[in-house]
Symmetry: D2
Subunit: 364 residues, 4 copies
């Protein structure tokens, strides 16, 4: 295969490290292989828009400063799946042909997609339609892409969440409060459990493990019995109420309404443990801004390796961090699989070993 | 005056740097003057409780690590003003006599109070009742204590708020969003205007200056005209709606309800400027955890100087940061005065000079 | 005065915050006054070179990201004073006429100089030669410019030096060592005394105060008597040997040679106090990279105000940080005066109050 | 096995995360198993000294604040190998029997050793002598322990080194300099190559790969040809001169002398590439102080798992980070093996792919 022109896009929510991966792709493609690299703007939109919305990279655009820059210089918008693109009238349209025409017009012979599981799956289908290979680079602060220890963005998100706990711990102690930190994680609790262990939480709630308010209360009572009159609770945003309902549905009758799981817990625990509770919803700062060193190393390795896969004619693969270094796996091994926290795995065991309440497992 | 025993307490909301001030008081009092220092726990509560709740400091309790420790090791609770102490039955009681008896029992001859304007005023009255001198050390992340450039906690809070903008700016850019950051500041906008200038905000709203939604929209339109499709807005929590109502009151009829000023602006602007808006309410992380270097220097200077004031028999004064160094002012010059951002002052001028919309002043 | 074109340059050693000041100058000049702004590259060199070396700024070049960028995008080289420019053959030449012709060719009607005391003085002379006004913006990590509480770069340098102490303190404790940190400060000790107080040093040596090795040893002995078997010493690079000689001269006979004052102290103290000593020479990291929030606020205020001074026809002035806000002073009040740490002033008093050894003052 | 009393010690150079591991061991042992935990002070010294030097831990000594505390609260001294203990007269003595008697006197039935490869090997022999099992927890900022992706301390050291590059890059650019950063790594280049990739270095030199000054010069020439007049070079302290000699030996005749490899390169390159060069020797700050979140997670997992190994009767093993989680390996698989950077491995490939010069490999 004599690839000469490749495209690259970032898809889905932004995070720290995307620019480091972009930079690495451009360096490798131009320096080593002499290819041309086209950065497609705003995710899949850049190829569905006419005129096409892209930039051709040269080395002057990918300096070391780009390593330190958060987000993605290509932009990313979530207007929707090209196969089911939402129209202003509420209907959906299949715009996949426009996308395929787009990359044909641009003349690219392979596409590097920096995205989450869903983006990679859809874009792989779009690439197959037009017969060009795709290589995926996993990114998501949630770290729920299968087959890779790290997705780009997670290392930085962990740092941000951990630093928040470091800042909240002293104010919890000073005011004898139960401090609740709600972190990102719709489906999985990687940020919550890692940050909670790193920050010294007493309670960590993640979507993977059911919990009871009584269980939390018991842990807080134990903390007090040990002579400490404050506690830290970290909860992933995707956690449900004690009975398993989504938090947003419990506004029945318009009487009760919580801003999210953090506020639900604050209200319940204030009564149950007779403590002042306070909530911090960390939100978008977890997307990170300047990436951590770990994120930059992982993203750089991902970018270089992705280009090497194209050069080697290895199609339909995703780069991955495994055994402490970069490698790759078939996209088919990743698609549709969510990498969750193993409720019986080593990190859950670590948390329990530290006396942290992380919920109650069904007897397995 | 041959003072031999002094007390020290921290009052009101905690912040970064309190322990650095405590440490400095203890060092100076013990090393230089050979006094005994009693740390009173939980603000004024420690002297109203029987038995008294306090710790006697020695030098082994005030190591360098204390400089790095957020919050206050003495604790601080806000159960209420001893002159109007809220009782479980909803009534109020004057418990000032208990407080005076408390410090008499402890035998302290002077009291150092680390607190905000309100705390210092009340505690000064309590000290006068029993005829002992008080020296105040100003602290508040809001930086609204009069006569001092810095109150303890503000430098760190500024860093935390500024770092949040640094993290939000790239995600705003990547997603072409209007990103709103709500920071602390019930009555004043020091955190908002300083962090907004430092972080590169396009709009900064503070309680001291009225604004219009149209004014904000015009600024965002100008930003777009300059070729940038995202914007950053920083707002102090104490800002009101465009028409000057508290945000919490506009839930009449149960129809409209905002989590706070940030969410109000997000809802209004999403319509007005046709942009995706996102809100981050920074909350308690602004209390800071590990203090910044500036906070540690200021707090250390405050602590040493407070003890020197007692030694010199200067009563009823507050230490203050003026002309780049520590000094002191009469408590009476501070009491009841809120140090607000001057809408016509240099920093407002700086913000305007950078093209930032900071509201509209009545023609003065 | 109807100024239409202004120039700006950065002179001397780089530091954090220079770009924030540049950005502010450009915003104010273009947005408020509609002027054209020319950035002169590499300090005075940009006007002595033919063709002239400069960039004309527009608003797209001064985005918010520039606030976060360390150093100076204009570059700065120290090839020498235009009045006494060093030639390859070792002689000196007066190239001032070339500089004047340079700014005449560029057509600028005023010059903003971001520099230290020396740079501002020389450039003011050069501006007078050609009859154009100069406004100065003080920058130096040493913070030794007179009449201003802060020079750009100092706040960040303090943070960097303080963080280094935070990192060294635990390793000193773990290994029971005397840890020595050498920080910048050829003539003054602002970084050393501020960082030392903030970080919990036991000994702080600054060029302004003589010291004795016995005095240091006595302090370390006292630390041990208090039960601590490690100590932290912060020293400004400009400190001399105990007897007042420059450290670099004590290599007489080629027998003894120290890398600098830090290594001199390490060697002397290892013997004198029978301890393991280790030295860290912090060096160029103090120039800072990403500026602190305080540096960004100060630099932004300086930049806006500098332009306002030109607009108001106020010539020959330097912007300054005084009384907690931006102001200005005549350049003549600054020239030739080094702002040193006052050995009898409040911060020295703070250090002594904390039990820190900062040298011995002549009986004054 | 019904273990009731265990000991724990930290050995060798301190680093970030040691206290997090200590804390985890104490929590797991007391909470889960009800054991007693004895912290032995100053590495092996605590058991060779009479009276024994140790502390018995209870949960009140291992709070969340300990997660944030750098170094080791147990202390660590490097007086020497108990089998070959250096005596004041210059001779060596076998003091192993004293050590064995020490742990017998303390009555511990197993020992947890937090140390590097060498410490673990020696202490395992000492434990075998007395017939008690040892479990190892790998720590070293160099990350050269075999069979584990992370040793405690490395993640934080990487952050510190990377941040230094972030601070040096702007000053290199502003002054058009070749900036050299010397980082730790006597035998291996993990910090150098990871930090160099993360920070955007142009040249990375590690002990594992030979280099030539001409190769460096060629890279710097290429950088200039790309239009950039500054460069960043990261070098591990253990690198030798171009010809493979230790840097410290090239002071022949007393004429030439370098402070280390960084200064050697600075001197050589200043001539070779006709550039201003500057050196920063990062030194002890890499030991880290407050640990990164990754270090805290790894250390916590290591501590809990080490106790579980003892409880399960698994002797002579080291905990390890593999496949993204904690596991364990036989100590015999680790002893005497240095985990070096693979010159042909993925990270070296990443560096080359980014255009970084990392030396020249023998044709393999």
């Amino acid at each position: 295969m004599a690839v000469k022109r490749i495209g690259i896009l970032t898809s889905g929510g932004d995070c720290a490290g995307l620019n480091a991966a972009l930079r690495a792709v451009v360096h490798r493609a131009i320096r080593t292989y002499g290819w041309r690299v086209f950065g497609i703007r705003d995710g899949s939109m850049g190829l569905m828009t006419r005129p096409l919305n892209y930039v051709e990279f040269d080395l002057s655009l990918v300096t070391g400063d780009m390593l330190r820059l958060g987000g993605t210089i290509l932009g990313t918008v979530n207007k929707g799946d090209p196969f089911h693109y939402p129209m202003p009238d509420g209907s959906f349209r299949d715009r996949s042909a426009e996308f395929v025409e787009g990359y044909r017009e641009l003349g690219i012979e392979a596409l590097v997609v920096i995205g989450g599981d869903g983006s990679m799956r859809i874009l792989n289908q779009l690439c197959r339609l037009g017969g060009i290979p795709m290589v995926g680079i996993p990114k998501t602060i949630d770290n729920d892409v299968a087959q890779t220890d790290y997705a780009i963005g997670f290392p930085t998100a962990l740092d941000v969440a951990g630093e928040a706990i470091d800042r909240l711990a002293p104010t919890a102690a000073s005011h004898h409060r139960v401090m609740i930190l709600e972190v990102m994680g719709r489906d999985v609790g990687h940020i919550a459990i890692n940050a909670g262990v790193a920050g010294g939480a007493d309670v960590i709630l993640i979507p993977e493990i059911p919990y009871s308010l009584d269980g939390i209360a018991a842990r807080i009572a134990a903390v007090r019995a040990e002579g400490r009159n404050h506690a830290l609770l970290v909860v992933a945003e995707g956690c449900k109420t004690e009975s398993g309902e989504p938090v947003s549905t419990i506004q029945a009758g318009g009487e009760v309404r919580y801003g999210g799981i953090g506020h639900y817990l604050a209200a319940k625990l204030a009564e149950l443990v007779q403590a002042e509770t306070r909530v911090t919803v960390l939100g978008h700062v977890q997307r990170g801004g300047m990436p951590s060193m770990r994120d930059r190393v992982v993203a750089s390795a991902f970018g270089v390796h992705a280009v090497d896969l194209i050069a080697a004619g290895k199609l339909g693969r995703m780069v991955a961090w495994q055994h402490g270094q970069v490698g790759d796996v078939p996209l088919s091994d990743v698609a549709g699989i969510t990498r969750a926290v193993d409720p019986y795995g080593p990190l859950a065991q670590t948390a329990r070993g530290l006396g942290i309440y992380i919920g109650e497992l069904p007897v397995g």
